[in-house]
């Protein structure tokens, strides 16, 4: 026990020391408010250190391997040729408007921002700090609270990389905007703190894709935070895909703050990494707001993925619909925690939550736990969780109609995933994900 404490302190010290170097190298023209966030954040991280399984919120995931690995900061190090990394990843840099980051650096040669309509600001974080759109100071670091996760705090301390996307009120962005974070071999033994800020103004509409993709089996760590702000009646559809390399660690926080009558839809997919944790926090902060949160997890071998969601019904007449499906093979382990809070006064809340977990091997494991905290009386909250193998009655049903046992199994497994996949609206992207999923389910 004393060893782990020592290494815990060691990890904190190491990041504190690294922060001193990092702060020295920062652009002296960075605004003061940003430096303040960074200093506050490293102090917060120093207080908590890495989460441990003794914390209720983190009890299903052991981060000690991550803590012990001495990840250096990825920023600014020599990188491989971005095009080569993109090619070897086999990942489709889908979409006409995209920002691509490779090994912790913006890769303009792979990015494309030419076709943006008016009323949209899209830039990388460093640039945005200089361009200073007013939404940057208003929202950056304000939507994802430092205290919510030590990883958010660490991210805030080192944030310097990511995308800033601001849509002016009533602007409608038809084409999806794709943010891609690629990690190649050059990322081995390093950590990249990705920070994205997406602010959608009143009545504006936007679709984004967020993809985290790794090449190879090296141990590396991506720690991302995406802050989302939706003005009144704003609409945001967001598709996140986590396809890190087999040796990678991935921690993410997605926090969304929703105004009145706004509509947020997130479809998140976790396929990669040896260990991943995604914290999703949606605050329905204006009456009549609606969110859909759909998740699909497919794991195999010894992969571990932990999705932790928190839907916060803070105002009346809000609705939320949460559906997470997991398919687990080998010795993999999936975790889903769905916390729904209905605050006092949030009457006429309608919250739906479902977690379904399919175990394809005897050694796979899934934990699903709904957590409901309800402080209003006129509400409807429905939740359900299932964990188990393929339903033998469904299998017999399909076989009796002529499908072979293998065919029936693969159809049922794919159907499980397709339920989430079908929520992906851009046709081309859904087809891309479907191909990927089919190939994965065939063992590739």
């Amino acid at each position: 026990m004393s060893d782990s404490t020592a290494s815990g302190e060691g990890a904190v010290n190491r990041y504190e020391t690294e922060f001193v170097d990092f702060a020295k190298k920062m652009d002296p023209n960075d605004p003061e408010w940003l430096s303040e966030i960074r200093s506050e954040a490293i102090a917060e991280f120093a207080k908590t250190g890495f989460p441990t399984v003794r914390d209720e919120k983190w009890r299903f995931t052991n981060f000690s391997r991550m803590e012990q690995a001495a990840f250096r900061l990825r920023n600014g190090r020599a990188v491989a040729e971005p095009r080569d990394v993109a090619t070897s990843s086999g990942f489709n840099l889908w979409g006409n408007t995209r920002l691509v980051f490779v090994d912790g650096k913006y890769a303009p040669e792979l990015s494309s921002t030419g076709s943006l309509p008016s009323g949209v600001y899209l830039g990388v974080l460093g640039e945005a700090v200089r361009d200073a759109p007013p939404q940057l100071q208003e929202f950056l670091g304000q939507i994802s609270p430092l205290k919510e996760s030590p990883f958010t705090a660490l991210n805030a301390a080192f944030m310097s990389l990511g995308a800033v996307l601001v849509v002016q009120p009533h602007a409608v962005v038809q084409e999806p905007i794709h943010l891609v974070f690629l990690s190649g071999e050059a990322s081995a033994n390093t950590v990249s703190h990705v920070r994205n800020l997406i602010a959608v103004g009143e009545g504006a509409q936007l679709t984004t894709l967020e993809s985290y993709v790794g090449v190879g089996a090296e141990s590396c760590w991506t720690n991302s935070v995406t802050e989302l702000s939706l003005g009144d009646s704003a609409v945001l559809k967001s598709y996140r895909t986590q396809l890190e390399g087999s040796g990678a660690f991935h921690t993410s926080c997605t926090n969304c703050h929703q105004g009145r009558d706004s509509n947020y839809s997130l479809t998140t997919m976790d396929f990669g990494g040896q260990l991943s944790r995604h914290d999703i926090g949606v605050r329905l902060a204006g009456s009549g707001a609606h969110c859909d949160v759909f998740g699909l997890v497919h794991l195999r071998d010894k992969q571990h993925a932990d999705n932790h969601t928190w839907i916060d019904h803070a105002e009346p007449h809000c609705t939320s619909n949460e559906l997470f499906n997991g398919v687990f093979e080998g010795e993999s382990h999936g975790v889903f925690t769905g916390r729904i809070m209905v605050r006092e006064g949030a009457q006429r809340t309608d919250a739906l939550q479902s977690s379904r977990n399919l175990l394809l091997s005897e050694t796979a494991r899934a934990d699903a736990q709904p957590q409901l905290e309800i402080f209003a009386d006129d509400v409807r909250c429905t939740h359900g969780a299932t964990v188990g193998p393929i339903d033998p009655e469904a299998l017999f049903y399909l076989r009796s109609k002529g499908l072979s046992e293998d065919e029936a199994r693969s159809l049922l497994t794919f159907g499980f995933a397709a339920e989430i996949l079908n929520s992906v609206e851009p046709d081309g992207w859904r087809e891309e994900l479907e191909l990927l999923l089919r190939s994965r389910l065939q063992g590739n």
Binding site: P392, F396, Y397, S400, S404, E405, L411
Partner: protein, 252 residues
């Protein structure tokens, strides 16, 4: 087409079918009636090859093949079809996608080429018309969120598309109101062919007002207590199952 001899079968070590003998020829419609718990559904599950049911003794020959030796999918391949009493919901898979795979499995067995999605949709349209249904269920996940009547109707759509030699319809009428029942009955009559046969399992006589069977068998306590023509069903309706429980009443 189907010949059942001395069939004893059960589940969880409990014998439910206690010696069934039944012969069905091509072109015929047979009905099996019986009170709850008499073994009607067990018979349909055993014929389709549900792995939880155990055959204790007896023979089932389907066009000369030993049916009991075959896996469920191979029975389907030979032309056996079971319309489920409780159709299962298959999430995420559309009706059209599932049916195309089932049909192509059947076509492969028959030595026919598989249908591509476009040809399949043409066929589907034709079959929907034949059973007087619209296409609103085609692209919905199989049975998911369907009402009881819609689920039954969906089984009949499968029957229409797969064109089996022998269709076993397990209580296609249970839970249906009279309008829904007529729709199912019309479809079954519509699909009748001289080279195929149908075995209808039902608790109530009502369905048999709309589908007139050639033979009616009454199953009581795992055995066929009596058999007769379609008039037997009407007799049962008026006298109830006591008719067969008290053999003295039969044919009086």
């Amino acid at each position: 087409m189907l010949e059942i001899k001395g069939l004893h079968a059960g589940i969880d070590g409990k014998e439910i079918l206690k010696g069934i003998d039944l012969t069905i020829n091509a072109g015929e419609i047979h009905a099996i009636m019986g009170p709850n718990g008499s073994g009607k559904s067990t018979l349909s599950q055993v014929l389709a090859g549900h792995p939880s049911y155990e055959v204790i003794s007896g023979e089932v020959a389907f066009e000369g093949t030993d049916l009991l030796e075959l896996e469920p999918e191979d029975r389907a391949c030979k032309g056996l079809f079971l319309a489920f009493q409780y159709p299962v919901e298959i999430r995420g898979i559309t009706n059209a996608y599932f049916l195309r795979h089932a049909l192509n499995a059947r076509r492969t067995c028959e030595g026919l080429e598989e249908l591509d999605p476009i040809d399949f949709m043409d066929l589907m349209e034709e079959k929907l018309k034949a059973i007087n249904w619209d296409d609103s269920f085609v692209n919905r996940p199989v049975n998911e969120g369907f009402s009881g009547g819609e689920k039954k109707r969906n089984e009949i759509l499968q029957l229409a598309v797969l064109e089996p030699k022998l269709a076993v319809l397990d209580e296609p009428d249970s839970g249906l109101d009279i309008d829904a029942l007529k729709i199912v009955a019309d479809a079954v009559n519509q699909l009748r062919r001289p080279d195929s046969a149908t075995l209808i399992i039902t608790h109530y006589q009502r369905l048999l007002n709309y589908i007139v069977p050639d033979r009616v068998h009454v199953l009581v306590n795992g055995k066929i207590a009596t058999s007769g023509g379609s008039e037997l069903a009407k007799e049962l309706e008026s006298k109830g199952y006591d008719l067969v429980k008290d053999p003295a009443l039969v044919n009086q």
